[in-house]
Amino acid sequence: MADLRLLRMRCYWRLAVFRTGAVNAASGSAYAEIGDTKVIVSVFGPRESKKAMMYSDIGRLNCNVSYTTFATPVRGQGSDNKEFSSMLHKALEGAIILDSFPKTTVDVFALVLESGGSDLPVVISCASVALADAGIMMYDLVASVSVSCLGKNLVIDPVLEEESYQDGSLMISSMPSRDEVTQLTITGEWSTAKIHEAMMLCLDACSKLGKIMRSCLKEAALASQE
């Protein structure tokens, strides 16, 4: 186990794959597969805000994350995940140029097809690729990575099993090319030194993940030109 983990430490995370244009009915969409975690995100709009909404000079962002009933090993309810929905909203809010679509709403809907650990970071990264696919103006892509603290070890991009044993977890969503962080969450037991180490690890991983996301978008753009 330890050896395996060391190996993974070096190559950082499970195989990450992004594809745009997964859902034709949406303005933009992306499919992400990182290890066993599989996610689809659709972006709709900018479109008319709900009637009940107050007037707003800047655009609105509306996020929703839900799970399929077969996403988890034990059959679940497949209900909305309110916590993840608001976390996704906060992670993306800072990266989107909301001034560019006043009075309207952009909807970001995510569906976790299979949960294999690190679900929220995958949803956030996938959502930013989907937003780019929809042509929503952003300062930069948002790449998100989490680290679990297992005893003395730090484990990046934890799988479901590792997450269930973790003492603490740290997640960073960042805009790699601007070197800015949109969201940082720390839960559980951490020492200051460990937090520092984990943050460095995450930021480095974010910039690498950002490159993968960028290359996926470039490929899609080249393919559509031909």
């Binding site: 997964a22 859902v23 034709n24 009915a25 949406a26 969409s29 066993d36 689809i40 995100v41 659709s42 709709f44 479109r47 929703n64 839900s66 399929t68 009933t69 077969f70 996403a71 988890t72 090993p73 059959r75 497949g78 909305d80 909807d107 809907f109 995510a110 569906l111 097809l113 299979e114």
Partner: protein, 292 residues
Amino acid sequence: MGPMNDSSDLSSEMEVDAFRRLFPLRFHERHLLESIRPDGRPLGRARDTTLAFGAVASADGSALAKIGCTTMLAAIKMEVMTPTVESPNEGCIAVEFHMPPICSPTVRPGRPAEVAPVVSKQLSDTILRQVVMTFSGMIDLKDLSLVNGKAAWMAYLDIYCLDADGALFDTALLSAVAAFCHLKFPMVSLNDDGRVVVVSGESKGGKSGKEAVNKEQRKLNLISIPFSLTCTLHNNYILADPTAEEESIMETLVTVVLDSSLQLVSFYKPGGPVLAFTSAVMVSSDLQKAII
């Protein structure tokens, strides 16, 4: 499904696009006169269909079906249950159809799509009604029995619409049937209390005398396989396998479900302004036969 005319002049393309949005019915009728559809298909042709098995690793059986852009993901999870007193030697199947907000701009979170319960009912009717007539059922529920009166399989079939572009029921049924084809029963054994439990993969080679009840990983026997085809009726025209746009403009739909021996399983015509005269029905089922 891009625009159909590759006209070199951008302005004329814009005009066509505007015409399509402003006068959708006239736009489509103009195409019908030429016996062609906006996506370049002749009236009677269905879209390309693809099928992938085992798309969900965590399920016991799963399939991804695609008709044109319409995409459905079906997964089956098996659980052991105690059968009912009325039918001690039968298992049970629960069918659920979901339209998450990712699939279409009309679906919003917290407000389920109007068509979802309709498709859900149609699906469970098609899959389960057959079961009642044991001679031509799709699945014999007795195959889902483990120990008479003690234990049976409960099959949870969940179908998710990932992309909605017309012909939802056809795609959903295709994915459901494919998921049942792909289904492998998990290993079960008797535990110390004499109850039947599912054995997880790793502990299968266990020593403690817990023999697997069903040794070989059995596959489900499908007696007959239903296929369906939806057609849109408009005046005298019959359009096979409509897209979402066609469905919304020409509102009369006819769905014909046949099984593999070309027996009629079910027939739906949920209202609509055009009357389904006999010939239309005949043609729909002929088209269907051609597709099988």
